[in-house]
């Protein structure tokens, strides 16, 4: 057991640090949830890609460096320690790409991965629907067979980044009336500017259009933009939640850097005699270190050929709750200035509030932890076949 960095890893760290020092903009770009900021962040993605720093763990042929998870962790530490901008391309890189690597065709990989890595194509998610949130499998948006492809109809919502993004990926019902709701779904990629697509941005809590509703009216999608077999979408979408996706959605480097900034602010503004605040700042440091080491253990398990499965739910609950606590502490350190809404901590706070909701609510994650890791009995659906949903919720 060791946490040692090899000589090669140290060289990699030094290279990343050197590049970031030379290229990270001195002035942070505008919020990526604004049109101006989105464009600035897209330009930054192109800059990263040009020197092969946007997707270090991808194969070289798609613009990466083909490095392992350990080096990815090192890069992320350096990235956030350097104060580099948030990643506007994260949906494509962390959510779509792992699915394409596992289930996409060679043609799809070659066509889609490089522009995803360069920021030329920014992806939005199209999972939730007005009546399908945590119960995602009950979704009703349709994919109907047509000549050479599919016609999409229906409504998607809470589609992150969709206000300014280029394309979207999600699940559509291609076989209506299957006995189980998660059967007969198809994983589709589509153009947000295609005929029949209407994007209506939704203002999040601070007014910025961080997500959108999508209205789809017979939107044509060619067969080449279906991932895997039609009807297998649920299995395909879920298969990547437990592998790298569970590990790479939020990197430890991001929280190590945030905890570091918090300690600096605490030293500058609060006295050590305020032990209540001191303990919360210490918890931010402890949490970042715990999350970092937890991720190191998982990376080691991958390297040893294991997979993590339902344990990715532990990961998700931890970082999302941690992120809010960290930002709450930061706002408390700011005192009356915490109310002023245009600072980094305040924007980070608003962003953090969504963490326990998206990517599977923390209630769903806790159900997964309890049922799959602790082996507790399933309890979401009525146990007694005679007890219907209508019976449980009178009226």
């Amino acid at each position: 057991m060791d946490l040692d960095e090899s000589a090669e890893e140290q060289v990699f760290r030094a290279q990343a640090r050197q590049w970031l020092r030379a290229h990270v903009p001195a002035e942070p770009p505008a919020s990526l949830e604004t049109e101006e900021g989105f464009a600035e962040h897209r330009a930054w993605e192109a800059r990263l890609y040009a020197d092969r720093w946007s997707v270090v763990s991808w194969p070289k042929e798609y613009g990466g460096r083909g490095v392992d998870l350990v080096k990815w962790l090192i890069f992320e530490e350096e990235y956030y320690a350097a104060g580099a901008p948030g990643r506007v391309s994260q949906n494509g890189i962390s959510l779509l790409a792992p699915t394409l690597f596992d289930h996409g065709s060679r043609e799809q990989q070659a066509r889609i991965l490089p522009p995803t890595a360069s920021g030329e194509v920014i992806w939005a998610q199209a999972w939730s629907e007005p009546e399908a949130g945590s119960d995602l499998a009950s979704l009703t948006s349709r994919a109907v067979r047509t000549d050479g492809g599919w016609l999409l109809s229906g409504q998607k919502t809470w589609s992150s980044r969709a206000a300014f993004a280029d394309r979207a990926f999600g699940l559509f019902r291609s076989e209506p009336g299957t006995p189980k709701p998660h059967h007969g779904l198809t994983y589709v990629m589509f153009d947000l500017h295609a005929p029949g697509v209407t994007v209506r941005p939704i203002a999040r809590l601070d007014g910025k259009p961080a997500f959108a509703e999508l209205f789809l009216d017979d939107v044509f999608v060619p067969d080449e933009d279906v991932i895997g077999e039609p009807g297998e979408g649920w299995r395909i979408a879920m298969s990547t939640t437990g592998n790298e996706r569970g590990l790479t959605l939020r990197s430890p480097g991001r929280f190590l850097a945030a905890a570091d900034r918090l300690v600096r602010r605490w030293r500058a503004t609060a006295g050590p005699s305020d032990t209540a605040l001191r303990d919360r700042v210490a918890d931010a440091v402890l949490g970042a270190r715990a999350y970092h080491l937890f991720t190191c253990a998982n990376a080691s398990r991958f390297a040893a050929g294991e997979s993590i499965g339902a344990e990715s739910s532990l990961n998700k609950v931890f970082w999302s709750e941690y992120d809010i606590a960290l930002h709450e502490t930061a706002l408390d350190l700011l005192g009356p200035e915490g109310e002023v809404s245009d600072g980094d901590w305040q924007e980070g706070y608003v962003f953090s509030l969504a963490g326990p909701i998206y990517a599977g609510t923390n209630e769903i994650q806790r159900d997964i932890i309890a049922e799959r890791l602790l082996g507790l009995p399933k309890g979401r659906l009525p146990q007694d076949p005679g007890l219907t949903r209508a019976g449980r919720i009178p009226g």
Binding site: M1, D2, L3, D4, E5, S6, E9, Q10, R13, V70, E77, A81, G253, L256, D260, V263, R264, W266, R267, P272, T275, R278, D279, V281, A282, D283, V285, L286, G287, R289, A290, Y291, H292, L293, F294, C296, A297, A299, S300, R301, A303, L314, V317, F318, E363, Q365, R366, D367, I369, A370, E371, L373, L374, G375, L376, P377, K378, G379, R380, Q383
Partner: protein, 334 residues
Amino acid sequence: MRFLLDAEQAEFGRTLDRMLAAAGTPGVVRAWAAGDHGPGRALWSRIAEAGVFALAVPEAYDGVGPLPVELAVAYVELGRHAVPGPVVETAAAATLLGELPSVAKEWLPRIASGEAVVSLRLDEADAFCGPYALDADAADAVITVSGDELRLAPGHGPLQASADPARRLFRPLDGGELLASGPAVREAAAQAADRAAFLTAAQSLGVGLELLHRTVEYTKQRMQFGTPIGSFQAVKHRLADTLLALEFARPLLFGAALSTAPADIAAAKVTAGEAAYTAARTALQLHGAIGYTEELDLSLWLRKARPLRDAWGTPGACRARVLDAQVPGLQHAP
């Protein structure tokens, strides 16, 4: 980087687990709490035969250590089985005496073999050390440190009841034979305090894991409203949060085993201690009234969680140490 136990380390933990499970520790704990040390000393010998105390003793004194990763594995198991006695204090005494050659050769081989049970009271001025010598009445030696003087206590005061009756607290009497003195004593005592905090963290993690395990099993079997209470979301989510707390304490423990840095040990101590206490609260609540009884063996772990959280470094002292060591911009430099 390979932040995983190797096959041998994992097997060592499983072997200890099997041995302790077969030993029927609840009966041993209850006897120990009543002042009957016989079964506890017998168990102590078996733990020593399994090589646990030798892990804290250098080879020069008939040990195989110090091996912090293996020690963490072992003390998690000791916690999981609620093993009574000054297990932490004896290993920390090995760290202390090992730094002082004049006394090491007398005591360390006996600690490694399990022949010597040692209790310890380090300098009370240290925020990580308390005034009591745990289980002094069962110990072959009670070592005290005050300033830079290390002594063999001449005896101890009356039993002071602990919230955990299996933790028997005594104040060592002042004076006694001076075994060593000078700045080296102070330095060795600091290392011993760190070792004690580290091993208490491991013990806490084991206590928490067992509390969670017993509670999960109980909620799978306990029927109310015609269904196991473990199928209710309010119950599940509390158990999920408890697992979360324990599983994020584990990497801090092994991170501290690798670095042995005082701040990393403090991080492990506070996180494992709080996680075990969370597990105790969960266990008590989800067992309901039966969990509030002394008779149920669960009490042996329930009552241990909070004293361990506060022994050898309170949460406040640990958090202060974590922050004191945090140099912004350097914490994850290579």
